[in-house]
């Protein structure tokens, strides 16, 4: 596990409320997120973009407070925005500018002197893989190249934390992999904290250490993504052949097995772990029925499980969604 709860918090909110007329976009959001690569997950309309806007000081909350890197997002907005970067979801680049000019201009807007801004723009565009193309007009760029320019302008002023709103939008599978790899490098090699807002589970799982799940404007989960193995975690079991006799025998030993996940065709079963007694019972049942034991491991909650459990009914067909999300 890479996240350290003891480190200072990157995002802190208390009773955060945002309304648009009668629609409540954020409903008493309480968060205490450590310094990590943070995934902000939720279905469309869950309040992710609204939360990002408030954290950046682009939108004022109707109630509650929000702090980023220890600074109040409303009252210390200017100071905060010197230390963070933002890559918006929408296409936000001037067509008739070169990548070098635009990124350099955005560096100057963050307070860098002209010469330093030009130098940083060249370095950062090299880092995102646009070294050769930096003097070309943006209007001739592919979607992937435009996303890279957006990423470059978000990190050109060397922020401590960068907000990335749906950074893989519109990218083909290869472009998406490259973008996620780039974001991972920004976090791990360059040491920039990342807040990745996405509705694609795989994106978050690939890059992030910590996940915040929003649904209907409320936080439904906020926890590290990779939890250590737990001795009391449920056990996943799979046997070769017909599992019927094995399961019946287990039942006789007082253990109830349920199918893993929501796919009832799965040949994997989950058994509540009651310590040593459970492991002995599984061994005995397999031996008595002659069922070869192919898998026996503690259950790890995947991001998918967490999402399904957290978002609940709103995530009907989440697996299907995940499949369609895998591009």
């Amino acid at each position: 596990m890479r996240s350290e709860p003891a480190l200072p918090l990157s995002i802190e909110t208390a009773g955060l409320v945002k309304r648009y007329g009668s629609v409540v976009a954020l409903d008493r959001v309480d968060l205490a997120v450590p310094r990590a690569a943070i995934g902000l997950l939720g279905p469309n309309g869950a309040g992710k973009s609204t939360l990002l806007k408030i954290l950046l000081g682009l939108s004022r909350p109707n109630g509650g407070s929000a702090r980023v890197l220890g600074r109040d997002a409303v009252t210390d907005g200017r100071e905060l925005r010197m230390r963070v970067g933002y890559m918006p979801e929408t296409d936000t680049l001037p067509d008739n500018a070169t990548a070098a000019d635009f990124v350099s201009h955005m560096a100057e807007m963050s307070g860098l002197p002209h010469r330093a801004a030009r130098q940083r723009a060249a370095d950062v565009l090299y880092q995102v893989g646009l070294d050769e193309e930096r003097y070309r007009l943006v209007k001739g760029f592919s979607t992937g190249m435009k996303q890279r320019v957006k990423l470059a302008q978000a990190i050109v002023h060397d922020p401590e934390l960068v907000f990335l709103d749906e950074p893989t939008n519109g990218l083909d599978p290869l472009g998406r992999e490259e973008m996620l790899d780039l974001i991972g490098r920004i976090n791990r090699q360059l040491g920039i904290l990342v807040v990745l807002s996405s509705h694609i589970l795989d994106d978050v799982e690939q890059v992030c250490d910590y996940v915040v799940v929003l649904d209907g404007g409320q936080v439904v989960a906020s926890q590290p993504l990779h939890v250590p193995d737990d001795d009391t975690a449920d056990l996943h079991v799979r046997v070769d052949g017909d599992p019927g006799p094995f399961l019946k025998n287990l039942e006789g030993l007082g253990l109830i097995a349920r199918p893993a996940g929501i796919e009832f065709t799965s040949d994997e079963f989950v058994i509540a772990n009651d310590g040593e007694r459970t492991l002995d019972a599984i061994r005995d049942a397999a031996a008595m029925t002659g069922s070869p034991l192919r898998l026996l491991r503690p259950a790890k909650r995947s991001l998918e499980d967490l999402y399904i459990d957290s978002v609940g009914a709103g995530a009907n067909g989440a697996r299907d969604k995940r499949r369609t999300s895998k591009r």
């Binding site: 648009y20 609204t50 806007k53 950046l56 682009l58 939108s59 004022r60 200017r78 100071e79 925005r81 010197m82 963070v84 970067g85 933002y86 918006p88 929408t90 296409d91 936000t92 680049l93 001037p94 067509d95 008739n96 500018a97 070169t98 000019d101 201009h105 955005m106 100057e108 807007m109 963050s110 307070g111 860098l112 002197p113 002209h114 330093a116 940083r120 370095d123 950062v124 090299y126 880092q127 302008q153 002023h157 060397d158 090699q189 360059l190 040491g191």
Partner: protein, 290 residues
């Protein structure tokens, strides 16, 4: 960036370095935005097609000034272009120039959805408007003030005794600065305020030009309607930017026939009020948050 030398050359490690240089404040950000906006409005670092119209307009303003100075060089007694006539002649060109650059300043940022990017930087919303006003004001000054100053310098330097001539015409320079600055910020503020409401440049250009034309017609119609009430009719000039400017220039250079018969202070007050209202509208508009 480090370099390793060898007999074959150098290999540079272009690894990412954290930035530990100075971070400048609001004034730097405002100037950076103003400079970038001015360059883009003039078509710099853009395809040549974006440079044509600004250059043509600069040429159109410069030619009469150069002709006037040329005539002065050969026929010292002949004054081809007096200052009030100059300001009257360039109003249309400055109006077109503003109609061209104001949408480039404001509408382009909306069209390209750059506002969230700008406002996620330390620059505030108010500072953004200040930067745009500064950029528009400076560019418009280069049309309304600079050629007039060149004309003044030419007239002075071509006189038989240049230094006394320049010294004696210093009041004219003061009037030129007042007129040029007032025209630049008056027309600039109107153009920016209109352009700030749309992301479509062509719409903004059309509305600005149409606004100048219609305001002129409306002003004349009101003047005619209240002809029997001269005290009311004289205020009709405030509706039309061109007639307001003509009135200001006429009163400033002692040629009241050029515009209406409003006093100089009233014309200047009207222009200041319009600039204030336009700025207030823009500040309020850009302070809007989700």
């Amino acid at each position: 960036m480090s370099a390793a030398s060898s007999q074959y050359g150098e290999i540079f490690d272009r690894g990412y370095d954290h930035y530990d240089g100075p971070r400048l404040g609001q004034a730097h950000a405002i100037w950076a935005l103003a400079r970038y906006s001015m360059a883009r409005s003039l078509g710099m670092r853009r395809p040549w097609t974006a440079k044509i119209i600004p250059m043509l307009l600069y040429g159109a303003v410069a030619i009469p000034v150069l002709i006037s100075i040329g005539i002065r060089a050969f026929f010292p007694a002949f004054e081809f272009l007096a200052y009030p006539e100059f300001f009257g002649a360039i109003f249309l060109l400055v109006g077109i120039f503003v109609a061209l650059i104001a949408p480039e300043m404001m509408s382009s940022d909306r069209h390209d959805r750059l506002l969230p990017l700008y406002f996620s930087r330390p620059i505030g919303r108010g500072s953004y408007v200040v930067a745009k006003l500064l950029a528009t004001g400076l560019l418009t000054l280069s049309m309304s003030l600079l050629p007039a100053v060149v004309l003044w310098l030419g007239n002075g330097l071509l006189a038989q005794e240049p230094l006394p001539a320049l010294r004696s015409s210093l009041p004219d320079l003061g009037r030129i600065v007042v007129a040029g600055t007032a025209i630049a910020f008056y027309l600039g503020a109107i153009g920016l305020a209109i352009a700030s409401f749309t992301g479509r440049k062509s719409v903004a250009v059309g509305v600005i030009i149409l606004g100048f034309v219609l305001s002129e017609s409306l002003s004349i119609a009101i003047l005619e309607a209240f002809r029997d009430q001269p005290d009311l009719a004289r205020w009709s000039v405030v509706i039309s930017p061109s007639r307001t400017i003509a009135t200001l220039v006429g009163q400033l250079f002692g040629e009241p026939d050029l515009g209406g018969d409003l006093p100089f202070n009233a014309a200047l007050g009207v222009m200041a009020a319009v600039i204030t209202i336009c700025c207030a509208v823009m500040f309020a508009w850009y302070q809007r948050r989700d």
